[in-house]
């Protein structure tokens, strides 16, 4: 029942929102709806009864596809992330004006429904369905409410991800016809006995789709543009949650279905990831726009996660699990500050900012904590994830870990540079009359700081949550 509710609540709430013409009503409604969803996702984390975590119904019988939903450890963690993100996003941007607010929040809720669906589907066609369902509202949100250059940027985003989707669809069909009972069920896919050549073929079809989504170098160029041009509320969901779809897909579909291909191609993927980590970190140093800096920083972080997945080590995989969650909340925290600055100062350019700490000390302190979480300082949540992921990568290959490790230095360079350029030094024209940010912004950031510190000091519950998934995935890989 729980996985059904996770999808159903945002869909229905979104539908209602389309009919709300009053801006305040739409905002209030989406806050309530997102809190209810958060409660359900929390219930899912603590639910012990297996029946409540599973749902199964007929959907497209002629096709061999069933409406099967399932919450395992990884799905619990990611639905919790999706559940937490939504109220954070909505409340922290509650002062922003969106024309046709009812439609905006309706689409946002649908986006959430699609994300939930992706994470709980135990049927590949259903997975594909939700994958697309999550993309469509995202397109409309970017093209309808985005910045000046939104049209070409959204188009690039669309073409890119659509291309990925098509490749994945071909891959899904390919697998479908290989199943003896012609079924899309995840269990049938997992039981497939593919020849090495078939595995390689399917691997690349799926991998490119997921690589675009994450994104992995060199498929990443849609991302900084899209993050820059989207309304920040949407950017938060895209970077906090949606990019996890790619990582999730790799762990859920590629590793168990194509284990031989993973073992065969892991070095190619890891080399791409390591190049991407350094490449994105270096480019981040040179950015003048906060949004683009955070975007490139995020590409570097995701690259490390992808590399850690393909190193196929238990510790690294566990690191990826906690880091998916941690990266989600941390990057949302960064975006909240970016949005607060953009709304109050009217600019995102470092060259037009400075000295804000004198005017907005509260925001400054919260942001500094976010920044140090972004560079994985110990006792922040990101340290746990990065420490374990680098460990996994080191066990795969020490040199790779060493080279990728250079990014922890570069991350300090661009992140502290960002803090300095926005908050330190003397005030400039844009910050002369600044005031500290709204209570709603500071409240959301304070909540995030608590999450960051608690998960940084005591990560054990989060690690245990995803133990089962890691174990079953790696058993598959290591039998090769």
């Amino acid at each position: 029942m729980i996985p059904v509710l996770l999808i159903l609540i945002p869909i229905v709430a979104g539908l209602v929102s389309f009919f709300l013409k009053n801006e305040k009503a739409a905002k209030g409604w989406s806050v309530i709806a997102s809190l209810v969803t958060l409660a359900v996702s929390l219930a899912g984390v603590y639910e012990q009864n297996a029946a409540a975590l599973h749902a199964d119904a007929a959907w497209l019988p002629t096709l061999g596809s069933r409406f099967t939903l399932h919450l395992d450890g990884m799905a619990k963690m990611l639905t919790l992330l999706t559940g937490i993100s939504m109220p954070l996003v909505v409340v922290s941007t509650i002062k922003n004006d969106y024309r046709n607010a009812g439609n905006f929040y309706g689409l946002l809720l649908w986006l959430q429904a699609g994300l939930m669906g992706v994470f709980v589907s135990a049927d590949c066609l259903l997975f594909y369905f939700f994958w697309e369902l999550a993309l469509i509202p995202a397109y409309f949100l970017c093209s309808g409410w985005g910045g000046e250059k939104r049209i070409p940027v959204t188009f690039k985003f669309f073409v890119y991800t659509f291309l990925g989707s098509l490749l994945m669809l071909v891959g899904i069909l390919f697998l479908y016809f290989k199943t003896p009972d012609h079924s899309f069920a995840i269990a049938s896919f997992y039981k497939l006995n593919l020849t090495p050549a078939e595995q390689s073929f399917g691997f690349w079809l799926f991998f490119i789709a997921f690589a675009i989504k994450m994104p992995v170098f060199p498929f990443h160029t849609w991302q900084p543009d899209t993050y820059e041009q989207s309304p920040t509320a949407v950017t938060m969901l895209l970077s906090g949650v949606m990019v996890k779809m790619g990582l999730y897909g790799v762990i859920r579909w590629i590793l168990p279905v194509f284990p031989a291909a993973v073992v065969r191609f892991d070095h190619i993927v890891i080399i791409l990831c390591v190049i991407g980590i350094l490449y994105a970190s270096l480019i981040a140093i040179k950015q003048d726009d906060i949004k683009r800096l955070v975007a490139y920083s995020s590409i570097a972080h995701i690259g490390l996660m992808c590399a850690a997945i393909f190193s196929s080590q238990q510790v690294g995989m566990q690191g990826v699990m906690v880091q998916m969650f941690n990266h989600g909340v941390n990057v949302i925290g960064l975006w909240i500050v970016v949005d607060a600055i953009e709304q109050n100062q009217g600019t995102r350019k470092f060259s037009e900012l400075g000295g804000l700490a004198q005017k907005a000390p509260g925001l400054a302190i919260l942001f500094v904590i976010m920044a140090f979480a972004n560079i994985a300082l110990p006792l922040t949540n990101a340290f746990v994830g990065e420490f374990m992921m680098f460990n996994g990568l080191f066990r795969y290959n020490g040199w790779m870990a060493g080279i990728a490790g250079i990014s922890i230095i570069l991350a300090a360079v661009y992140t502290l540079g960002m803090v300095q350029k926005i908050f330190y030094g003397n005030t400039v024209a844009a910050t002369e009359n600044a005031v500290d940010s709204d209570f709603s912004v500071k409240l959301m950031l304070a909540i995030l700081v608590v999450v960051i510190v608690v998960l940084g000091v005591y990560p054990q519950p989060m690690l245990q949550l995803t133990n089962d998934t890691v174990h079953s995935v790696l058993t598959k890989i290591h039998s090769f």
Binding site: L60, T62, E132, I136, F140, S143, I151, T154, F155, K156, F158, V159, Y160, L169, L173, F174, F177, F201, T221, W222, Y279, L282, I283, K286, Q287, Q314, V315, A357, Q358, F372, L377, P378, L379, F383, V384, F387, M388, F390, N391, F394, R395, G398, A401, G402, G405, I408, I409, A412, V413, L416, Q420, F423, Y424, G425, N426, Y458, P459, Q460, L463, N467
Partner: protein, 642 residues
């Protein structure tokens, strides 16, 4: 009794939270009491534990909770108090308390909010430093290690309106991060080979490590140490770190944080004893840093910069000690150096305070009359650091140099040359500051005063320690069985001692003779510097030749910029503007155009006909479904393809 261990980091953490969260509502005296009181409480507990350790030996490891625990990968949040950590606890909390006390007066002109922020940072620093030395494994050490780096960053940039200070803070953090990467990789290496990071377990299993493993691990850990403890090639952040308030320089950048690298290697002593090549590298780098930094200190005119280069140089001696296997000597020098260098910085702070912020010693002079307490305590520290017997620096430096002599007399002679420079630049500093004629403005002269008691009491206490602190380590050659510290620390280095089992090769008479000769020369240097610089007259004439090179710190910062920083930034710019924009994105956009839909799609979107979009989606789904109904046809088709 053992449970008290938790209290040691707990008090500073509590102080940090109270002062950090309520800094706007608390008044300054209360902030000062909370800030200093929390450290005093930790000091009392540390003292209790020290005596416990002294009589009963190391306390058992105290696990707090399981930090990371996934199947084969377990890291405990656990504390360990043994001889080495209990000594460091005393240094950190003892000197830490004195510096907190001093700060209540030094920082008094700050508004309450910033005063609270200062003490919150300072308490957080002590908390992190305590984690660093209390941790029972490398991961907890690393947590403290990066924690002190954070506090150092925050305190160097404490006056954040000044962008030069912010650059210094960022530089310190980034250079430390370079070292931290080495530390991290070493931890990964240990974990990959042994599956544990607990000290006890690692040191018990050294036999499982190949020589290559040990070499790699020790070198990587040492890279970490060069960052935190400011050794060649990563030392350049420390002189810039003087941008922070002076008590911060005393606590973090002289007495405690920068000695973390020495603690780390002393803690891992068995690994280093088993890695002779690494030891040679450490000895050479340590000695090179000691001499190199001393040459720069000869020509600096900023009172804090002289002390900063002196710190780099003294840290170099400690690494020399570690490199030649004199672990006790290195730790001994950490202790005595903490006394006299903290004293020197606090004394410098007292001077800067009295001079209204002036740091240029060319514009000082004759302060002895106006600031008697500061004067005599500073003088004691100068004698101690110069190595004049029987003050503390003499014993610890001598122990390191004697061990170096045993390894290779060349190390010894170069080390002595550095010690002579130390005596020279310290007494140049002393004489230009306290002797001769006052060279500042009339306004400054009128304002000159001795600092209040909250500042002079720490000076006096430290002066006593700097004077007599060396007596716990009197060498065999002078008095048999009087090296209390060696006996105390013996269990920590026992494994290394057994591994090496070398007899002393240098006779006591030779050692005494060398000691005597060096002492006489040092006193000669002191007299020369004293006479030369007490007659110093102000001049801003530019240095020439070697003097200019030294004044400009051998142009190392400029060289790093030209060789590393700028090329890297150029590369980043090239990647951003050329590779990313024209290369990768160019190809993507080209492909996009090639697909040919772009023009039409753009028009559809721009005209707001989003319906077409959905139509497209729905149509594709319909096609998909039709395809499925004709499954057989398609499967035949697909079979042909695949």
């Amino acid at each position: 009794m053992n449970n008290l261990v938790y209290l040691i980091p707990f008090f500073p953490l509590l102080g940090f939270l109270i002062n950090g969260l309520f800094r706007k509502s608390l008044n300054k005296p209360l902030i000062g009491i909370i800030g200093s009181g929390s450290i005093l409480a930790s000091f009392v507990v540390s003292l209790l534990l020290f005596f416990q350790v002294k009589s009963n030996g190391a306390l058992p490891v105290q696990p707090l909770f399981s930090f990371i625990d996934v199947e084969s990968f377990k890291i405990a949040f656990a504390f360990q108090v043994d001889q080495l950590s209990s000594l460091f606890l005393l240094i950190i909390t003892g000197i830490g308390f004195l510096i907190h006390l001093y700060s209540t007066s030094y920082m008094h002109d700050e508004p309450a909010e910033h005063f609270g922020r200062y003490f919150a940072y300072l308490n957080l620093f002590v908390f992190s430093m305590l984690l660093l030395v209390l941790g029972a494994n490398y991961v907890i050490m690393f947590i403290g290690w990066e924690g002190v780096g954070l506090c150092s960053y925050l305190l160097i940039g404490f006056w954040f309106k000044n962008n030069n200070y912010n650059y210094a803070a960022k530089k310190a953090f980034v250079m430390n991060r370079i070292g931290d990467l080495g530390f991290l990789l070493a931890v990964f290496w240990i974990l990959a080979k042994l599956g544990t990071v607990e000290y006890y377990e690692v040191f018990a299993q050294t036999a499982k490590l190949s020589n290559a493993d040990i070499f790699g691990i020790t070198i990587l850990l040492f890279i970490g140490a060069t960052g935190k403890s400011a050794q060649i090639p990563l030392y350049t952040w420390l002189p810039d770190a003087m941008a922070g308030p002076t008590p911060v320089s005393a606590l973090i950048h002289a007495a405690t944080m920068v000695t973390a690298g020495i603690y780390m290697i002393a803690r891992s002593n068995i690994l280093y004893t088993m890695a002779p090549v690494t030891q040679v590298i450490i000895a050479v780098i340590g000695l090179a840093t000691a001499v190199f930094a001393a040459t720069i200190a000869l020509k600096q005119n900023d009172i804090k910069k002289v002390l900063a280069y002196s710190t780099v140089s003294q840290l170099g001696y400690m690494f020399l000690g570690l490199g030649v296997g004199a672990y006790t000597g290195a730790v001994f020098h950490v202790m005595t150096h903490a006394f006299f260098k903290a004293l020197l910085f606090l004394g410098a702070g007292s001077v800067i305070h009295a001079m209204g912020g002036e740091q240029d010693i060319r514009k000082m002079g004759g302060l002895a009359k106006k600031m008697p307490q500061t004067n005599w305590t500073f003088l004691v520290a100068c004698f101690a650091i110069a190595g004049v017997p029987p003050l503390s620096g003499f014993f610890s430096k001598d122990e390191i140099l004697a061990a170096a002599f045993e390894k290779n007399s060349l190390l010894y002679y170069i080390g002595v040359a550095g010690a002579l420079m130390t005596a020279f630049y310290m007494f140049r500093l002393y004489a230009m500051t306290f002797l001769g004629q006052f060279r500042g403005t009339h306004e400054q002269e009128h304002h000159l005063h001795e600092s209040p008691a909250a500042m002079t009491i720490p000076l006096i206490v430290l002066a006593i320690l700097a004077a007599v602190g060396g007596l716990i380590g009197i060498p065999e050659a002078i008095l048999p069985n009087a090296h209390k510290l060696e006996a105390f620390l013996e269990p920590v280095f026992e494994q290394s001692t057994r591994y090496v089992h070398e007899a002393h090769t240098v006779s006591h008479s030779t050692e005494l003779m060398l000691m005597g000769v060096v002492t006489v020369i040092i006193i000669g240097v002191i007299v020369a510097a004293w006479r030369k610089f007490s007659k110093y007259q102000y001049s801003d004439a530019e240095e020439t030749g070697l003097g200019k090179v030294l004044e400009n710190k051998w142009y190392v910062d400029e060289i790093y910029d030209a060789v590393i920083v700028n090329p890297l930034l150029k590369l980043a710019g090239f990647l951003k503007n050329v590779v990313e924009k024209s290369g990768i994105d160019g190809i993507v956009n080209g492909v996009g155009r090639f697909v040919g839909y772009s023009a039409r799609q753009l028009r559809l979107l721009q005209s707001g006909q989003v319906g077409n979009y959905i139509l497209f989606m729905v149509l594709s789904l319909v096609v998909l479904f039709l395809v499925f109904w004709n499954e057989t046809i398609i499967s035949e088709f697909l079979k042909k393809i695949f």
